[in-house]
Symmetry: C2
Subunit: 397 residues, 2 copies
């Protein structure tokens, strides 16, 4: 595994905030360089919900992700490989990340975190998917698409991600839910570490320089376990570090988890925070050294009629609200995209009332563009040392 | 009514096909000039389904329409007027047409033609809407949105269209269904003629040069009635002529209806064919002197997974078909828009299987762009005298 040079990848830290762990970076991939902190938008099933790649670019998006779990079930990794890989398949030529499938296999098995990732359309099928078995070798579950029994192992997860062809990959891990005890969490974490080694070995066997793999810090809400897991990832030839698994039930617990892991994470590698990305989270966790975020909320909020709004307490407004019925103002003139500037709130309100799909398209592009504006301003604030002031501006305090 | 000069409007016939009534025209409106024959895309509720104005422009769209019936019920003509009119409300700065609301009031009352125009989302509400009364004054119906009792008269239909602010308006008429007899059709047509006069009088009272009104040829499937109705519109100061109402149950009957009216329609005014627009119809009716078409099918087909395809018998392919599962080819390289060129059929098939909204966005833009390509080629063929050859190319014969 010493051969893992990641020669087509790089992560250069160009500026550090003297008051926190916040930092500016340049993350290099074969499909381009992105500046960090940055936000990775979820194209769960090889599509950002109701936004074309051109619309994502208009919104100044740098990087997106797709979910291995969904794609392995439909249309299947072999088909995507046959079609030239995920970049070509979904017509996105920028940097891209895939997860390992672990989160969905385990969380959908529990049925608790399912809604976050599966999207609302398929919730009626949630019961069809079942986690059937977890062993040292891997896990067996039933497909939510057709009920097939499917085995997923660390080696299999790497093989599927290799076929998908994203730039940044994730190791396969077990994602423990909130309600399990420390003993289960510890044993699970240790297995995820062994799975991490198997992922690295499998990755190294096929490494052609086109991809780079992240290790995942597990350990639930237990600070001492998070430290052990962080040190494990630091000592292995991962390209980057991701923070995953159960983060607790409150903002404070989530912050505590990251604080307990942060000092032990490899300081020169990019750090990704899996599945987290409200506006307030960006401020909290950039200060704790997070370089990239991902979350489904920009597009999910759009489907519910909500728009991110800079300076609004609670982060969003809901355009279904009757107060917007005759509001001629656009969503936000400060956001440089047609969706934010060229339609009145009254029009979007009307589209939502009329069940017109254009509403979700407009709101999704606005939300993505707003997040990208946020990330540009966060990067500038790290340089200027003005994160505290920017946080107040954005969160309306 | 002699004062109706339509000074900001014009229709210039620039070329005639020696072998048919087909002709090339330039239709001038305050929001721009369009070349005819052309196709008017349906933005029923002030939105082309899942396509932004920018995407419509990319697809080289010249002109769109909205439906008075839907907009008067939601969000209401007063609100749209307050927001600066329909152009500003929906962010479309090109030529625009509104119908009078008559077609929907009468056809939804019958429950037969409803699906065409209302769109699939609202079909569960179809029973809530009822045509309650037709008198010389106008009609009374129940709103499908909230059950309100609403009266619509010729004067009211013109007032609503004036508030909406489109360039091209339609007179209010009664739209008779297929199953009524000749006697009913004749009496209805005569009332529509009286309503036409009231529309013109109401229009003239408020004419500020920003709008122009079309008369509508009624008369069902009866050639002698169509002639009377056509002559009526010719003798009145309408800007254009539309062919509406029941066109029969077959292509032959529809063709017969237009053939019986065509010689009696004002030869120098633009002729619009209401609600008709399959590819084959464009060829048939351009030859009979139709200048503009409108139909919901480009976007409705998209929502059903179907794409127009030049040269395909039956006009469309359905991307849900399993044969496209691993088809790496784009929809159609000949159509100059990203939707047609930059995604594989395999990808669109996957999006449809996965219920991803992006599928309908891609297919809708492809269908609109394909129709616009058709219309450009039809115009060129009128000049070149090659309509017959072009028809074979498009319809795959």
């Amino acid at each position: 595994m010493d051969m893992l040079s990641y020669q087509n990848f790089g992560f250069e830290i160009t500026c550090r905030d003297p008051k926190s762990r916040a930092r500016l970076g340049r993350l290099k991939t074969p499909h381009g360089v992105i500046e960090t902190p940055n936000y990775i938008f979820c194209g769960t099933k090889a599509s950002i919900k109701n936004l074309s790649p051109a619309q994502m670019r208009e919104a100044q998006t740098d990087i997106i992700l797709s979910n291995t779990y969904h794609l392995m079930l439909q249309p299947g990794a072999d088909l995507i490989a046959q079609m030239g890989g995920l970049h070509k398949f979904m017509n996105w030529d920028g940097p891209m990340l895939t997860d390992s499938g672990g989160f969905q296999v385990f969380s959908l098995g529990e049925g608790t975190m399912a809604n976050e990732i599966k999207g609302s359309r398929k919730q009626e099928n949630a019961g069809k998917q079942n986690l059937m078995q977890i062993t040292e070798e891997g896990c067996v579950f039933r497909s939510y698409v057709d009920g097939r029994k499917i085995k997923l192992t660390p080696e299999g997860a790497m093989e599927i991600q290799r076929k998908l062809g994203a730039d940044l990959l994730m190791q396969f891990d077990e994602c423990t839910p909130y309600h399990v005890d420390k003993d289960y969490t510890a044993r699970s974490m240790e297995m995820s570490m062994r799975w991490g080694d198997r992922c690295l070995a499998e990755f190294a066997r096929h490494d052609d320089g086109a991809q780079a793999v992240y290790g995942i810090v597990q350990g639930g809400v237990y600070g001492d376990l998070r430290r052990i897991s962080a040190e494990y990832t630091k000592d292995r030839p991962f390209f980057g570090t991701a923070i995953g698994g159960c983060l607790g039930g409150s903002d404070e617990e989530m912050r505590g988890v990251v604080e307990s892991a942060a000092p032990y994470i490899h300081p020169e590698r990019p750090v990704h925070f899996l599945g987290i990305g409200q506006l307030k989270d960006v401020f909290t966790f950039v200060r704790l050294g997070i370089d990239t975020f991902d979350c489904v909320i920009p597009t999910r909020l759009a489907r519910h009629g909500a728009a991110f709004m800079k300076g609004r307490r609670g982060e969003t407004i809901n355009l279904k609200n009757a107060c917007y019925r005759d509001d001629p103002s656009p969503l936000d003139e400060r956001v440089p995209v047609a969706a934010s500037r060229e339609y009145s709130k009254a029009y979007i309100h009307h589209l939502l009332k009329a069940n017109e799909l254009l509403a979700t398209q407009i709101l999704a592009q606005h939300n993505v563009a707003t997040i990208n504006l946020l990330m540009r301003e966060v990067r500038a604030a790290v340089v200027d040392g003005t994160l505290d002031q920017l946080e107040k501006e954005w969160l309306g305090y």
